[in-house]
Symmetry: C2
Subunit: 378 residues, 2 copies
């Protein structure tokens, strides 16, 4: 099938760009001497993830137990579930472990540690647990100097779980405004994770794994001594948010949404399309950046950006394209039926609105080389 | 299964509230003497839509042809596809019509009208077409006094399609700030649609159907003379955006997302949960309203709001709950493992992130009475 024969909206993946993004990250991390545990929450598709990992068994990082189920079903056994565990998910974790998954869980507080220990003892399950560290005040995690780090470590170690190590995610790196800022955040992420590992070891507790990562810090890290593995996800496709903070170039973005022009409001300089927020997501991650890209950057059907044309507004199944300036006279003339491709703000969010990737071997290709299924939900 | 046994996050539907919302809208429109063509883009589930329609064959409104396929497969034949048609969808429309669907399409420009006429002539298909009217400058549609209205009508009528009528959607009603404003918008929506129907008839063209609607205007319309049918969708579940403009009460909201407390950042007054934007959507529709509800209003597991606790931030699979004031001391103490329910900003967007409804017969019910599948995508 040809790209121009697809019913719109449809998710399009440029495989050449994706492969280049993966190769660049793997080479960079290999040079730094750390293992790579890619985060598969972005693609949620085995055909993509097989290209992200060098060993068929993993390792990978997941954001849901549904991802763990799916990828374990496809032969990937070394899995880190990187969202703090809740007691009501331990049955599911234990089931996966019983089936042979080397599934690791994380937590950042004593209540959760006691719940995991109690479940493990009552059910004869030896959980592998990492303690989450808050390296940047972004979200979850134990403060790096908090006494709780050691307390939690002891509860886990003495309670019969495998204390696997520490993990952290410098989510604040998404809000950096310069490469220097990201480099500094990468240093901070590394040094605080290593610091926590050293605190645990000094207290006589095991800490073999030191896991860090985000696409920005992984891209710009220059020294990862003491770190054993790096996690990153969105780098596989990249997006406008990443381009907006110079983690990639706009030309590296491998994902786009194919859409068709429905009509016009010429007095306003609006082009109306059939890709609304349902196709793009409501993510407005570039709104706070130097350049606000609206709901996305508009490209022609070959994937080349149309100068200063952005998706300015979104309804459920309608997009409104307009010139960045708002000047109606500057909106290009695009007839009804014209096919366009929109680069997304946030690849994880846009991907999640679709159930398949229409794969192009390269950006200007006319044929759909493959259709790769993807999933969402829990 | 009990509500408290669900793995979180999970979508919860309060059937008693939904049934009440449906009954209220149907009674209101019956009193006004118009047919009801509910928009099924909100629920996307046959178990919900069966309760919205009084005749098993419809009518309904859809926002995608996938919805048309699915509901036609469930016996609903009278379907309006309420997004401007594009030439690359006519094969699909013709296929559905050939299978027996009474599928109506819309358009707002001569280019699309000529494409529909040409396709119909070349393939022997008699399309049923409504002309979309722009009643409020919100999005698509022919301006009510534009000469194009008659030109498009002639192209369609003389080109062998069935000119079914006019349709409009007062999407601006979502931005009204008072009930008076919504009432005025409802008047405007009605009068401009009727005006366009009269213009077509005066030009000797048929216009049997005058279709209008949005949940706000449908709720507050007081006179619908000249209108033949009303469309509305989000009213079935309602949401915080609708409550924020007094189209419903917060207590009418039938949809919520069940979530579990993962941990805390006590110095910031944050409660971390396992429902992030993937479970709620990125919709921030209350941000521009009088009361910004963040990503949602937090309720206890029985569905009663916890005073001034909102979902303040969202990452992919993490939610951050905080007191509305931002004062850490005012955040309630909720242990790890606590189950909560979050009311959504926008029911269409939140629903779309899930593949099933966990149905409670009423708000405080403990048992899941049913699980209703729903779908997304194209």
């Amino acid at each position: 099938m040809r790209l121009t024969e697809l019913e719109t909206p449809a998710l399009v993946l440029d495989q050449a760009k994706m492969d280049r993004n993966i190769a660049r990250m793997r080479e960079h991390l290999a040079r730094l001497g750390v293992a790579f545990r890619p985060h598969v929450k972005t693609p949620k598709a085995i055909d993509v993830v097989r290209r992200m990992i060098s060993n068929p068994a993993g390792p990978i990082t997941v954001s849901t137990l549904k991802e763990a189920d799916y990828f374990f079903g496809h032969g990937i056994s070394d899995i880190l579930y990187a969202v703090g565990i809740t007691p009501n998910k331990l049955d599911h974790v234990a089931r996966l472990m019983g089936a042979g998954a080397r599934l690791k869980i994380i937590l950042d507080n004593e209540e959760a540690a006691h719940a995991v220990v109690a479940y493990g003892r009552d059910n004869g399950v030896k959980f592998e647990v990492l303690i989450e560290i808050d390296c940047d005040g972004h979200r979850s995690g134990v403060k790096p100097d908090a006494p709780e780090l050691i307390t939690i470590g002891r509860v886990l170690h003495e309670g019969g779980t495998t204390l696997t190590g520490v993990m952290t995610h410098a989510g604040s790196s998404y809000n950096c405004t310069s490469v220097e800022g990201i480099r500094a955040m990468a240093k901070q992420e590394r040094s605080l994770a290593v610091h926590c590992a050293e605190r645990l070891r000094a207290a006589g507790l095991p800490c073999p794994v030191v896991s860090i990562g985000s696409s920005p810090t992984a891209t710009y890290a220059q020294d990862l001594s003491g770190v054993t593995e790096v996690r990153a996800g969105v780098f596989v496709f990249f997006d406008l948010v990443m381009a907006g903070i110079d983690v990639c170039k706009q030309d590296d973005i491998a994902l786009s949404v194919l859409t068709t022009v429905i009509g016009h409001q010429r007095d306003r300089g609006w082009i109306i399309t059939d890709a609304g927020w349902m196709a793009m997501s409501r993510d407005r991650g570039t709104a706070a950046q130097k350049v606000d890209q609206g709901y996305g950057v508009v490209c022609d059907v070959q994937g080349s950006p149309i100068k200063d044309l952005i998706m300015a507004q979104a309804n459920q199944e309608h997009g409104v394209l307009a010139h960045r300036s708002g000047d109606p006279a500057q909106t290009p003339k695009l007839p009804v039926g014209t096919l366009l491709r929109i680069l997304p703000n946030h690849a994880c969010a846009t991907g999640a609105q679709h159930d398949r990737y229409h794969v192009l071997e390269s950006s200007g290709a006319e044929d759909i080389a493959a259709v790769w299924p993807r999933f969402s939900g829990w």
